[in-house]
């Protein structure tokens, strides 16, 4: 029995850790309307700052904590709010997700610059340590029971007190109510004499302070043998599940969700080893938080998953004409034929990978750009396609290609079915959870693909030749990308395309006029997944195989980020997004170390651009006015000048 009690106590302690992270997420969401993917990264920067001030600069540790939580975090929040989030108030889910994801990238970049030297181990000693190194603790359940450190008890108490205090503040205090109100309707709040910007700033400061508090409290638990920037950032993902249990609104329920997660995790960690295969036990424990998240999203009544703030509405994407599509496809293939002749072998490989990722990007245009269904698991579909190709019909055949597309599409439909009632942020989180589960339980499972290894995937065979050269492969993938682009244009012009846009615009109206959202959603998910699987076949074929590193779940977010930066509703944007994703790491390895943090820089620039233009770079007025893009300038220019020009053209 004492073993059970021991695991229970430990589960509560770590549940409190998740709770602290989740409370910050919930408070930020309720006071700013943004689900901040960078919450963990803010905590990570705070933890490193705490280490820097305390261990490196030898500040008294309480002063270091106070500085990090009450000075650094609020100042950082003010900068972030002004530079990034003020511009996207009321934006679509994918835009706000992308900006917070970009912030995460920037903060990781900051950590890389300041705290990545391998010569130093940044260890954070436990709280309540005596001068002789003894960590103060209390023994429970007798001599054979467990010992709890004071710092673990402190985390439980702080989480409970902070959660309670914030709950009262947001419900009872005038400022708290105003902070929630400004998310719903800033104009109305300003009519009441309040200043929406100030309230929003306060919300961000509060969210960042909570993240910083979590960071400095958790640092000794995870940083005993050295803090790593990724560990704290990833830990926050476990808070997602708890936050969803609280429907992103209720702090008490968030706390309950966190405790449940902590208990389930610790019972699994405690009881599974020895009863089932150790490797399987490790996988199961690893996927618990994301499975918990997925299940929570599926069982919470849809009505309780209402988003905060207003529903963002934007004009439908412009219809690309058949001639524009055809011209774009010809230009794409012709350009790749020229490049195949001119480019070196390594550049050829980059172009092929970029186009393959571009095909995956096109699947996002269909799903996110047109249908408004945010998916954060496209690389999972890509991996399924590649895996199917590699495992069937000899590893590289036309039959394998067909099967890869069919299997990916079928899995897409399977994902769509349970998530039919979800949309916006909740759908995004559900697909994120699916991607994470598939990554941990399938692609990163050594019984499926050995660690550091991959499944062999051959290139698609061509007639009259026994080998597919790099040049031929580039042209091959260019032709397939062009066909996919034509297909996207065809869909957009079809009745089904208009249905997608209608469903994105107003699901309620869509259903009211008798259209089946269920069928439309399943079809578009399936089509999109099939296309992503097709991209995966060529991606893996280029490099000879597919492994876990190629299909990481965070990678789906990165690809979406790149496509969104160029323009999520444009064919050109999807292809450029794929190319960008392929090119950046290649360029990065050839930069001097001092400039190696290129991705962080690029993401920062991308975010600023995205914040300025709702439709990404390709939707910017100055560009659409000057440049004629392949596949047409699909984005509608929604500025006054743009509308005037359109009216004039129509006249």
């Amino acid at each position: 029995m004492s073993v059970f009690l021991s695991f229970t106590v430990l589960g509560i302690v770590y549940g409190a850790v998740y709770g602290l992270l989740a409370i910050g997420l919930v408070v930020t969401y309720n006071t700013t309307g943004v689900f901040n993917f960078a919450q963990g990264a803010v905590g990570m920067v705070a933890a490193f700052s705490y280490w820097e001030l305390w261990q490196n600069e030898h500040w008294p540790f309480l002063v270091a904590i106070a500085f990090v939580v009450f000075v650094e975090a609020p100042l950082l929040a003010l900068v972030v709010e002004f530079v990034l989030f003020r511009r996207i108030h009321g934006a679509t889910v994918e835009r706000s997700l992308m900006v917070s994801l970009g912030l995460l990238v920037i903060l990781l970049g900051v950590a890389t610059i300041f705290w990545s030297s391998p010569d130093i181990i940044r260890s954070v000693p436990p709280y309540f340590t005596q001068s002789d190194g003894t960590v103060l603790s209390v023994r429970l359940f007798g001599p054979n029971g467990i010992t709890l450190q004071y710092q673990q008890i402190m985390i439980v108490v702080v989480t409970a007190v902070v959660g309670l205090a914030l709950g009262v503040f947001l419900r009872r205090a005038r400022l708290g109510v105003a902070m929630r109100a400004v998310v719903d309707d800033p104009e109305l709040v300003s009519l009441a004499g309040a200043k929406p910007h100030r309230l929003s700033q306060t919300g961000w400061m509060l969210g960042f302070m909570l993240a910083a508090l979590a960071g400095v409290l958790i640092a000794p638990l995870v940083g005993q043998t050295g803090l790593t920037s990724t560990q704290l950032t990833l830990l926050a993902l476990n808070g997602f599940a708890a936050a969803v249990v609280g429907r992103l609104r209720s702090l008490p329920m968030t706390f309950v969700g966190a405790l449940m997660l902590g208990l389930i995790t610790y019972y699994a960690e405690g009881y599974l080893p020895g009863h089932i295969n150790a490797g399987l036990a490790a996988v199961l424990v690893e996927v618990i938080p994301v499975v918990f998240l997925f299940v929570a999203l599926l069982i919470i009544p849809a009505a309780r998953l209402a988003p905060v703030g207003r529903l963002a509405v934007r004009p439908p994407p412009r219809v690309v004409t058949a001639s524009q599509s055809a011209a774009g496809a010809v230009v794409l293939v012709a350009a790749m034929i020229v490049l195949a002749v001119m480019a070196g072998a390594t550049a050829l490989a980059t172009l092929s990978q970029g186009l393959a990722l571009g095909i995956v990007g096109l699947s996002l245009v269909l799903l996110v750009g047109y249908a408004g269904q945010v998916s954060l698991c496209q690389l999972t579909f890509m991996g399924i396609g590649a895996f199917t190709m590699g495992k069937t019909f000899g590893g590289g055949s036309w039959w394998g290609l067909i099967l890869a597309v069919v299997v990916s599409g079928a899995v897409g439909a399977l994902v769509a079915l349970p998530t039919l009632r979800l949309r916006g942020l909740y759908l995004a989180l559900a697909t994120f959870a699916f991607g994470a589960v598939m990554y941990s339980a399938f692609f990163d499972n050594s019984s499926v693909i050995s660690d550091g290894s991959r499944v062999n995937v051959g290139r698609l065979p061509l007639p009259f030749t026994s080998t597919v050269s790099n040049e031929a492969e580039l042209i091959e993938v260019a032709v397939v990308a062009a066909i996919c682009a034509l297909l996207i244009g065809l869909v957009r012009r079809s009745t089904f395309g208009r249905r997608l846009v209608a469903m994105s615009d107003s699901p309620a109206a869509f259903a009211t006029v008798g259209l089946s959202a269920v069928r439309t959603k399943v079809i578009v998910f399936s089509l999109s997944a099939a296309m992503a699987g097709l991209g995966g076949v060529f991606y893996a074929g280029q490099q000879g195989g597919i492994g876990a590193t190629d299909v990481q779940y965070i990678g789906s977010l990165t690809l979406l980020l790149f496509v969104a930066i160029w323009g999520i509703r444009t064919i050109t944007g999807a292809l450029l997004g794929g190319m960008t994703a392929a090119a950046i790491p290649v360029l990065q390895t050839h930069l001097p170390t001092s400039l190696a943090d290129l991705t962080g820089l690029a993401a920062g620039i991308g975010i600023v651009l995205l914040a300025r233009s709702p439709e990404g770079i390709l939707g910017m007025t100055w560009l659409t006015n000057r440049v004629r893009l392949p596949f047409g300038n699909e984005e509608r220019d929604v500025t006054l000048q743009g509308v005037e020009r359109e009216v004039a053209n129509a006249a």
């Binding site: 695991f7 994801l101 990238v105 990781l108 391998p118 010569d119 603790s137 467990i146 010992t147 638990l221 005993q224 920037s229 560990q231 990833l234 830990l235 610790y266 405690g270 080893p273 020895g274 150790a278 490797g279 036990a281 070196g344 072998a345 390594t346 050829l348 490989a349 990978q353 990722l357 590893g395 050594s446 050995s450 660690d451 550091g452 290894s453 991959r454 499944v455 062999n456 051959g458 290139r459 698609l460 061509l462 030749t465 080998t467 597919v468 050269s469 492969e473 074929g541 280029q542 000879g544 195989g545 492994g547 590193t549 990481q552 779940y553 392929a582 790491p585 290649v586 943090d597 993401a603």
Partner: protein, 447 residues
């Protein structure tokens, strides 16, 4: 041996976020402008991949005669290791070790008047990048020396396409290990010395119920399966095994379970020093003091003792390994240790040598041995021919010994323990290694 890849396992878990930073999560194309040749892949057939890459036919005369990377004044070799990524500097020791050995050789005039240079390449924790960088190294450098990566299986295809290119590196990948042009100071032989296990049985006869923590990484799991076979052959009972979650930063559940199952011997060979330190600290916090805690090389690390809670907590921990005490304890008994530490310090004054630095150094030594023997006008084929003649190699006493040409290890080992907060050699006390043990593999004693 590879328990220290646990740290890499943590990295594997975190590579997702690293991908955001480096972008390679979703990319992975070859390098622009590098001039590398990407091999055309046969249509309808999968190209080479980790663990399964198949060498091309015997090298052509032109391939054997190649002198890529050699000038009248220098010999440049490539090194492809994980330098950046989720755990920055993960295997940075590998190129540092090669540079240190080359610095020593260069200080004495180089090889036949040629200075030795290292073209250090970073695969950035990416399989695709490993393949690309390996291809580039083959195109531009004489061979590969001292590379160390979790993703060397991706580079295997490139190495297999030209088997005249010498790769003198410790590999984790069975496919690469099997290539005729791969020569490792510590080959993957599937065998291990039974020496440490016999030593524990002799000195801790009452502590025969084993609990083990294993990193969720294939190399660690394979090694531990082998280790369990050795333990069982000596009559040990494996009572508790846990594959650790890459995000684990606390092993209190394992401590409680081991305590509950009557474990009195804890095997920490399958995890790195950081996790071993946390485990030992957790056990101490829970006031659990098993009779025996032992590990292979991973806990032999500069910071292990301080991070595990200091001398009082770590005293008595046993270490059985096939390397000399290269952090300096063996400096008086093994001259190569002193040279190793001196030149590593010269190359990078702030670097604390680790196992990968040692691998880099030993690989460089083996390469130089072959290069010298190949004469004043070395070609790839000539160096390869000399490498095939190295049937016994111990890096001047830094290693227990191996037969790189036949890809076999020896039974030589040494025992050390932590006493008063320091690593102290216990067997053989005079220096060197005990080579009287048996070898075993996962199915039992083999020799």
């Amino acid at each position: 041996m590879y328990g220290s890849t646990r740290r890499a396992a943590r990295g594997q878990a975190h590579r997702a976020l690293r991908g955001l930073l480096a972008g390679s999560v979703i990319a992975g194309s070859a390098v622009i402008g590098g001039g590398a040749l990407v091999t055309a892949t046969p249509a309808g057939a999968a190209s080479s991949a980790a663990g399964t890459c198949t060498p091309a036919l015997a090298p052509t005369a032109a391939q054997n005669a190649a002198t890529t990377g050699i000038t009248p004044k220098s010999v440049t070799v490539g090194n492809v290791s994980i330098i950046s990524g989720p755990v920055p500097g993960l295997f940075e020791g590998a190129p540092i070790g090669v540079k240190a050995y080359f610095a020593m050789v260069n200080a004495h005039g180089g090889v036949n008047g040629r200075k030795l240079l290292v073209d250090s390449k970073d695969d950035a924790f990416s399989g695709q990048q490993n393949m690309t960088e390996t291809q580039e190294a083959i195109s531009n450098d004489f061979g590969l020396v001292g590379s160390f990566s979790l993703f060397d299986g991706y580079g295997c295809a490139a190495l297999a396409s030209d088997t005249a290119v010498p790769d003198v590196s410790v590999t984790l990948d069975s496919g690469t290990n099997a290539l005729p042009n791969d020569f490792s100071a510590q080959p993957l032989s599937g065998q291990e010395t039974l020496g440490p296990v016999s030593y524990y049985k002799k000195h801790y006869p009452k502590d025969m119920t084993v609990g083990a923590i294993i990193s969720d990484v294939a190399s660690a799991e394979t090694q531990m399966a082998q280790q369990f076979a050795g333990l069982k052959s000596e009559g040990y009972k494996i009572a508790y095994v846990d594959d650790v979650n890459p995000l684990a930063s606390d092993f209190t559940t394992d401590v409680i379970n081991m305590k509950n199952k009557g474990v009195n011997a804890v095997d920490l060979t399958g995890i790195d020093w950081q996790d071993a330190a946390i485990f030992v600290e957790n056990a101490n916090t829970q006031n659990w003091h098993p009779g025996l805690i032992f590990s292979g090389g991973p806990v032999y690390a500069d910071q292990f003792i301080s991070h595990a809670g200091g001398p009082a907590v770590t005293n008595g921990i046993q270490i059985g390994q096939v390397y000399a005490l290269y952090l300096g304890e063996d400096a008086q008994k093994v001259p190569a240790v002193k040279q190793f530490d001196t030149y590593v310090k010269k190359v990078n004054p702030s670097w604390v040598p680790d196992l990968y630095t040692l691998f880099g150094w030993a690989s460089a030594e083996m390469f130089v041995q072959a290069l010298k023997a190949a004469g004043p006008d070395p070609t790839r084929g000539a160096v390869m021919a000399q490498l095939k003649k190295i049937t016994s190699f111990n890096a001047d006493g830094l290693f227990g010994g191996s037969d790189p040409a036949a890809k076999k290890v020896t039974a030589c080992f040494l025992m050390a323990g932590i006493k008063n907060g320091k690593f102290v050699r216990e067997l053989p006390t005079s220096g060197g290694f005990d080579c009287n043990a048996k070898l075993y593999n996962a199915s039992g004693i083999t020799g």
